[in-house]
């Protein structure tokens, strides 16, 4: 009952004029960002964080969550119409969305994607409302050792479940952590890693510099290389008959909706997973369980509904550990978590007691955003198609302008803009060589929190690492640590696992 009242209060908060205006604006931007090839929720949120400094934290998180949400919907538009995923989260949508468009049934594909996203979003936000308060209550009992163990598990998840090259994944985690140590040491106050005595390093490296570099500059370079500005758009006829036929086709997608919604939510909670693997797994499992599995890939609505349900559900799921444990469930939530620190909040379970308006305002806004995004998505399809016709040679410099100004604004230092460019170029090259970049972003956000928790724990234990493995004193920390160790060594026994993962990806 308490939860219901808090939720109502949260919905009331998101209906306040500023919050509602930003929510609708965020949904629109998210749809646009998701629809543009090369831009996804993570890019949109990274580039837009600097503009949230002048609004209250609740309005800021509602705005950015709406961008995140909208981008999950929008990704399907370019997957269907161009055959290029708007973001990695919409890769699986191409498999059947594009063939449907080629067959002249683009409206069916777009409607299936929008409705699937709505169902996935609704189911996951209900699950979120039910799971978040009890999980936060458990997490309130966490001290420094448990917090550090959780962070180790978040890093280990990337190694165990990321599916990427293990040394490269660990390198990515470590470089993010190393970058987070630049600046003044939090205990001794001594300067660390001040290269060439450049004063700009004394204030450390803001996570936004790395995030905008990798997801703004690096991603644009990647997309410029991939598309070279050439895109081929499918034809689309929008009329009531087409819309009616599209809704009719959804009757056969109930199983895909169920799989996508529930699987997406639980995969989304895992730190390394997020919406991309959720959508791929959901597609694969729906295909395997379907009576018409052979038709998948040739253009069936269930093949669009399953990944779209899952990516929306996973995006909500990834916010659960962010709010309750202070651990991001996806690269986008890693950036949102960094944003909370910039807004002066302490991510984690205390938010539920200290900032209820923030937490429940966000949860309430997810219900509202889900509805608005569905309406805007279907109503504005013609407008998004116009936007997709903008040549990339025009869009790219605009994004570069946003990156340069966004990199400068937080600290007002050109030093950070140079670093952002450096990270962008390096991220582009590393990504081409299959170095995963998301762990680095997660690490630079979690690095200072992990270091603080580690050093506090070691002070408590007089320097003994045993505090993290003592089942009698710190059972929760020990269990989490053992899980982390299992995740870390999993790839060593991994040929079988990797075979399964690759199979799931290719299907």
């Amino acid at each position: 009952m308490d939860v219901f009242i808090l939720l109502l209060e949260g919905i009331f908060v998101s209906f306040q004029p500023l919050n509602l205006g930003l929510l609708i604006f965020g949904c629109l931007i998210g749809l646009f960002v998701g629809a543009m090839p090369g831009l996804g929720s993570v890019n949109g949120v990274a580039i837009l964080i600097p503009i949230t400094f002048i609004i209250p934290p609740t309005a800021a998180i509602i705005f950015l969550a709406a961008v995140y949400y909208g981008a999950m919907y929008g990704g399907a538009i370019s997957s269907v119409m161009l055959g290029i995923p708007g973001a990695s989260t919409a890769v699986a949508t191409v498999f059947d969305g594009r063939p449907l468009a080629v067959k002249g049934e683009a409206m069916t594909a777009l409607t299936a994607a929008a409705v699937g996203s709505f169902v996935g979003g609704t189911v996951s936000v209900i699950l979120f409302t039910l799971f978040a308060p009890p999980l936060a209550e458990v997490a309130l009992r966490f001290n420094a050792p448990e917090t550090f163990a959780l962070m180790v598990m978040a890093f280990a998840t990337f190694v165990g479940l990321g599916g990427d090259d293990v040394p490269k994944t660990i390198f990515s985690i470590l470089i993010g952590l190393a970058l987070s140590t630049i600046g003044l040491d939090l205990i001794t106050g001594k300067p660390r890693l001040i290269f060439f005595n450049i004063p700009g390093f004394l204030h450390g490296i803001n996570f936004l510099v790395l995030a905008i570099g990798i997801y703004g500059i690096g991603e644009m370079l990647w997309t410029l290389e991939e598309t070279k500005g050439k895109v081929q758009m499918s034809k689309l006829s929008v009329n009531m008959k087409e819309v009616g036929r599209a809704f009719g086709a959804l009757k056969k997608t109930i199983m895909a909706m169920n799989i996508g919604s529930f699987l997406g939510f639980f995969v989304g909670i895992l730190p390394a997973a997020g919406a991309t693997p959720a959508s791929l797994m959901s597609y694969g499992i729906t295909k395997q369980l379907s009576k018409n599995s052979k038709e998948f890939g040739s253009g069936v609505p269930a093949g669009v509904v399953a990944p779209e349900c899952a990516n929306n559900s996973a995006s909500t799921g990834s916010m659960l550990p962010m709010l309750t444990l202070g651990i991001p469930g996806s690269p986008t939530t890693a950036i949102l978590l960094g944003g909370m620190i910039l807004w002066g909040l302490t991510p984690g379970p205390l938010l539920f007691t200290q900032e209820p308006e923030f937490v429940w305002g966000l949860i309430g806004s997810l219900y509202i955003a889900n509805f608005f995004t569905l309406v805007l998505n279907i109503a504005l399809i013609p407008a998004f198609l116009m936007v997709l016709r903008i040549p990339f040679a025009i869009l790219a410099p605009v994004i570069f302008v946003l990156c340069v100004t966004g990199g400068y604004a937080p600290t007002q230092s050109l030093h950070d803009v140079w670093l952002m460019l450096l990270f962008g170029f390096a991220g582009y090259i590393l990504r081409k060589l299959d170095y995963p970049v998301a762990p680095a972003v997660l690490s630079i956000v979690l690095g200072p929190l992990a270091e603080k928790a580690l050093r506090q724990s070691l002070i408590l234990s007089d320097g003994s690492m045993g505090i993290f493995f003592d089942m009698s004193e710190k059972p929760i920390a020990a269990i989490i640590m053992y899980i982390a160790i299992v995740l870390l060594i999993m790839p060593a026994f991994g040929p079988l696992y990797r075979k399964f993962f690759k199979k799931a990806q290719t299907t």
């Binding site: 503009i51 400094f53 002048i54 090259d165 040394p167 490269k168 660990i170 390198f171 470590l174 470089i175 952590l177 190393a178 140590t181 630049i182 040491d185 205990i187 001794t188 001594k190 660390r192 890693l193 290269f195 500059i217 644009m220 370079l221 410029l224 290389e225 070279k228 500005g229 040549p391 040679a393 025009i394 790219a396 410099p397 605009v398 570069f400 302008v401 340069v404 100004t405 400068y408 604004a409 007002q412 050109l414 803009v417 140079w418 460019l421 170029f425 582009y428 090259i429 590393l430 081409k432 060589l433 299959d434 270091e451 050093r455 070691l458 002070i459 007089d462 320097g463 003994s464």
Partner: protein
């Protein structure tokens, strides 16, 4: 054989791994400027974490090099060009123009630098008319100014062009 054909994925993989290994060593040396030991009495030295993180990075790059030598990674067997010639043009021009943009921001200020950057970029890569490019290159910095300086009250760098903005500030804050 063009330069883009010479730089294969295989060569890029090993070159990048070696560069990252050298960077890791440099980080270890830099970390060692602070105390890198840790014991119960003195707790953790300021250089301890960065040193061991860099050591971990170094070990990862060595493993990548070993996988390359044993031909265990997909990149170690890939003789295709790291980037094709057409894409290289896009990437190289973009990177060079971005570097020049940031250099120019420090001297000319952001607004005038953006005008030149946008005009050059659009002229080079798009087939739009001179009129479109001119309008677009002028409007974008104006919108940037209004958004950051007027709405967010965040001053962006103006370099030698700063005096030109004094009348605008007088108007905005009068």
């Amino acid at each position: 054989m063009s330069i883009t054909n010479k730089i294969t994925v295989k060569r890029a993989e090993i070159a990048v791994a070696v560069i990252l290994a050298l960077c890791s060593i440099a980080l270890m040396i830099k970390s060692a400027e602070n105390r890198i030991t840790w014991n119960a009495e003195e707790n953790m030295g300021a250089g301890f974490l960065p040193f061991y993180l860099s050591l971990g990075m170094f070990i990862c790059t060595v493993l990548t090099i070993i996988k390359f030598v044993l031909k265990r990674s997909p990149q170690s067997k890939d003789d295709s060009p790291f980037i094709d010639a057409e894409a290289f043009k896009y990437i190289a021009v973009t990177i060079i123009s971005l570097v020049i943009l940031v250099l120019a921001i420090g001297y000319l200020g952001i607004y005038f630098s953006l005008i030149f950057f946008l005009a050059f970029y659009l002229r080079y890569f798009s087939s739009k008319s001179v009129l479109f490019i001119s309008v677009f290159s002028l409007i974008t910095p104006v919108l940037t100014f209004l958004f950051f300086e007027w709405l967010l009250k965040i001053p962006l760098p103006q370099g030698i062009s700063e005096p030109l903005f004094y009348p605008v500030y007088d108007f905005m804050y009068s």
